[in-house]
Amino acid sequence: MQKNWWKVVTVLLLVYTVVAGFLNDVPRLAILNESIRNTYFHVPMWFGMILLLLISVIYAIKYLKTPTLRNDIISTEAARVGLLFGVLGIITGMGWASVTWGEFWSNDPKQNASAIGLLMYFAYFVLRGSFAEQQQRARISAVYNIFAYAALIPLLFILPRLTDSLHPGNGGNPGFSSYDMDSKMRMVFYPAVIAWTLLGVWILNVKSRFEILKQKLYEHAHA
């Protein structure tokens, strides 16, 4: 129980996020109106995705250094959960875009960049699927994982700064302070980011433990 305190924190923060996110006072802004509450759900998805993909790439590097089954499984599962967060981020973003910008897909550089990023990780899973042998699959997909991540970084952080974007704080420096959020929104936003990110890590934890157990079971069944 002592090791699991963060799961309790996650649940409490998530409950707080949902309740306060829907009930708290928000600034009345034109166009955005009540959809501003999506900040608590859409933006944290990207934080979660970036963190999970970072974990994935770190474990890919670890796999190339010490090729163990555990490193490979954690790397894959982190990519999978990161992809889930990315898809959720795109869906919440598209809904939001249709309300505020008028279209589901508004040719915004960040929308395009995230779609390309998702394509990259779908390709990663297709690559994994095309190997029969476990060690070769793990090694080569780790190489692609690192390569793709290195190519994704300029995409997500540099390109939107070079062109104008519909996203807030773009066409220049998308720094966080430029979000026009008042202190009441911050009270919900920061816990929301922590909550969703922790939830991602939790899912990753459960999924990779499950996969490792499954592999162990197969090994014993064959032995």
Partner: protein, 251 residues
């Protein structure tokens, strides 16, 4: 636009520093000799099997001609954005097809033989350099043919040729590594396409913007942002390929 150039510049500086550190750890002279020998080998092989190169030329020619016919044009009636997009898409597919074979055509025995002789870094750098030369020739011929058949609205030729040069380098750096990855898998030609497109799209967007500026004859300073970002992406891709290829190579 003043503050937008800073992140790209810092980025470029860091990656170049990175490359210097990585390369200095190796014995550069030995590496350079290896790269030159391997490139020579590739050129000789290409010369002996001319059908592969001729095939690519025919591929470029037919694609351009198909585009010409399917748009039903007579010289120069294509709008500038369409002209630009079509040109880069033709070049993209040509390069994917041309570079895809760079590791697939090597047979197992020769790879094993190379494995005992040279370092993996030498192999990847030589392949990148060779593919760059190949792409440069193909891209220039493609531009020539495209301009003759469909018409040439380019106003700043020098800048456009510089963009083609950057494009050839960029495509070959990123596609060489991808072809190394795809060659290990079973359905490699499909994989080559799906693995490379997401990696190459940011590069393609920058190139299209640069070449659009060149076509419109804008002042060259307008393309500085794209230029530095492209150089930075190239630098990252080369460094990452250099570091990762040894893991791909050993089997």
């Amino acid at each position: 636009m003043v503050n937008t150039r800073r992140p790209a510049d810092t980025f470029l500086f860091i990656t170049i520093l990175n490359i210097c550190v990585v390369t200095l750890r190796q014995n550069i002279k030995v590496l350079l000799r290896e790269v030159l020998y391997l490139m020579q080998k590739d050129f000789v092989l290409e010369w002996r099997q001319k059908y592969a190169f001729n095939g690519m030329l025919l591929y470029v020619g037919s694609t351009v001609f198909i585009c010409y016919l399917s748009f039903g044009l007579r010289g120069g009636t294509l709008g500038v954005p369409v002209w630009n997009a079509l040109f880069w898409i033709i070049l993209l597919f040509t390069s994917v097809n041309a570079i895809a074979k760079s590791f697939m055509q090597e047979n197992k025995g020769r790879l094993l033989y190379l494995y005992t002789l040279v370092s993996p870094q030498g192999v990847i750098l030589a392949k990148i350099a060779y593919n760059t030369c190949l792409m440069l020739v193909l891209a220039l011929l493609c531009y020539l043919f495209y301009a003759v058949v469909i018409g040439n609205p380019v106003q700043d030729e020098g800048m456009f040729l510089a963009t083609i040069l950057l494009g050839a380098v960029g495509f070959s750096t990123s596609l060489t590594m991808i072809s190394g990855i795809a060659a290990k898998a079973s359905n490699s030609s499909t994989l080559m396409a799906i693995l490379s497109f997401p990696v190459i799209i940011p590069m393609l967007l920058m190139l299209m913007k640069m070449s659009k500026n060149a076509i419109d004859g804008l002042e060259r300073a307008a393309s500085t942002d794209e230029l530095t970002t492209l150089l930075a992406i190239n630098a990252i891709v080369i460094t990452v390929s250099y570091i990762l290829f040894p893991y791909l190579w050993r089997n």
